[in-house]
């Protein structure tokens, strides 16, 4: 989710198509993949790679891409109701960036021999996942601030290490994305900072947004994967492949350490009675996360799962005539060009 691999696609038999590289793979070159990884060099699209590596990347990059474009919805809801022209322009730019992030990522996935149309099909059929965070509703304007500050903040924490991911096209997409994300986080903080210095009602609205978004933001890093949980998930394999550089728990901890002082600056209270500074470890310790809720939302039982998917499918279907018209125009144009070339000959 937003760069965290969170499990297999839902329906069996709809997995990624077999690789469609430009050329047959050369068995004599079989050692090169391990060699490249060992030297921390990047794997590029036409390199020989294990099928499990390829399909893991397809799944993760597709989930990441889906998250970017579904992520346009919760904030897009507020574009028409932004309180000023400045805020509206900022929000439009941010939502447009998220569309761009989706496109960078679909392109990266396509270098692995899958087709964007297929990935979108799988999203629309509900067989491929996206981040659970976007299945929560945006109830007030303060939620736009909380998303920028917390959700984009958590996404940055996840995405920065992915700039060094072993798969070249994914890493390059992440570099571009990370450059753009920092404005996303800052505009969210600024929005809340403005509200927190406003009326009591505005400050209460900011607090309410933090109360609702804090725990889902912590869940964005994925289930625990250190200590006893280290053997359960994909983390160890992803780390061995150089896809993942830090555990979910490490990244979550960094996020908490970064965010607690920021909340203090805003004058907001973290909705966690157990949150405590541990002077010995030098970290903020948070209370238990409700992983039951995470699994429920991932499984389809969030407040907005059905709405998000229905909206996405409707947008796709409503846009079909535009795509068809563009193709027809291109074909007509190409005919004209070849006729002109023909008559000149």
């Amino acid at each position: 989710m937003y760069g965290t691999d969170f499990g297999p696609d839902d329906a069996a038999g709809t997995g990624p198509r077999p690789p469609a590289p430009d050329e047959p793979l050369n068995a004599a070159d079989a050692g090169i993949f391990d060699d490249l990884l060992e030297h921390d060099l990047r794997i590029e699209p036409r390199d020989e790679m294990p099928e499990a590596y390829r399909s893991t990347l397809v799944r993760q990059i597709a989930q990441h891409a889906h998250s970017e474009i579904i992520g346009m919805q919760p904030e897009g809801n507020w574009i028409t109701r932004a309180p000023s022209l400045r805020r509206k322009a900022i929000l439009i730019a941010k939502v447009q960036d998220e569309a761009g992030h989706g496109l960078y990522l679909y392109s990266a996935a396509e270098t692995l021999g899958v087709d964007r149309a297929d990935l979108l099909d799988r999203l629309h059929r509900g067989t491929q996942k996206y981040s659970t965070i976007f299945n929560y509703p945006t109830l007030t304007w303060a939620d736009v601030g909380a998303i920028g500050w917390l959700v984009d903040g958590a996404a940055i924490m996840n995405q920065v290490p992915l700039c060094r991911c072993s798969y070249g096209p994914y890493a390059r997409a992440m570099i571009r994305v990370c450059k753009e994300e920092s404005f996303h986080q800052r505009q969210g903080f600024e929005l809340l900072w403005t509200m927190c210095r406003g009326t009591d009602a505005q400050k209460a609205m900011a607090q309410d947004a933090l109360d609702r978004w804090w725990w889902p933001a912590l869940m964005m890093f994925g289930p625990p994967d250190t200590g006893e949980a280290a053997t359960g998930g994909h983390t160890a394999q992803s780390m061995a492949w150089g896809i993942k550089r830090f555990s979910n728990d490490d990244l979550r901890q960094r996020f908490v350490d970064m965010t607690v002082p920021q909340a203090e600056k805003l004058g907001l209270r973290m909705p966690d009675p157990d949150l405590a500074w541990n002077a010995e470890s030098g970290h903020w310790e948070h209370g238990p996360i409700d992983w039951g809720e995470f699994r429920r939302v991932l499984g389809g039982d969030g407040a907005c799962n059905a709405q998000r998917l229905a909206h996405r499918v409707r947008a796709h279907e409503d846009g079909a005539w535009v795509r068809e018209a563009a193709v027809a125009y291109a074909a007509k144009h190409a005919d004209g060009r070849s006729r002109r070339r023909g008559s000149a000959a």
Binding site: D47, A117, R323, A330
Partner: protein, 96 residues
């Protein structure tokens, strides 16, 4: 009509500023070159990243084969005399 059949893949090259060459930025799908240019403008130069764009149909690119990487690039490996550091020059000679 499906995207697969209708919209070819384009590779996008951006010249970041005058004096620099175009650099590969990424790729996108578009029905024709003109739309590819417009989409590339929106996708890869939202923050003044470029002063010029090239779009090239991915299918028109001929690439060297990764499998023949060895044989293809080997000929340069044993020609160290192509590098200035190969030459023994007395340390006290200037401007060489």
């Amino acid at each position: 009509m499906s995207e697969r059949a209708g919209w070819p893949l384009w590779e996008i090259f951006v010249r970041p500023k005058r004096g620099l060459s175009h650099v590969h930025a990424g790729s996108l799908h578009a029905p024709d070159a003109e739309m590819a240019l417009r989409n590339a403008r929106d996708l890869y130069t939202r923050r003044g990243e470029g002063v010029s764009l090239w779009v090239v149909r991915a299918a028109d690119i001929t690439a060297s084969s990764p499998q023949e990487r060895g044989a293809f690039f080997d000929p340069a490996d044993d020609k160290v005399y192509r590098h200035p550091t190969f030459y023994d020059i007395p340390a006290d000679v200037e401007y060489l």
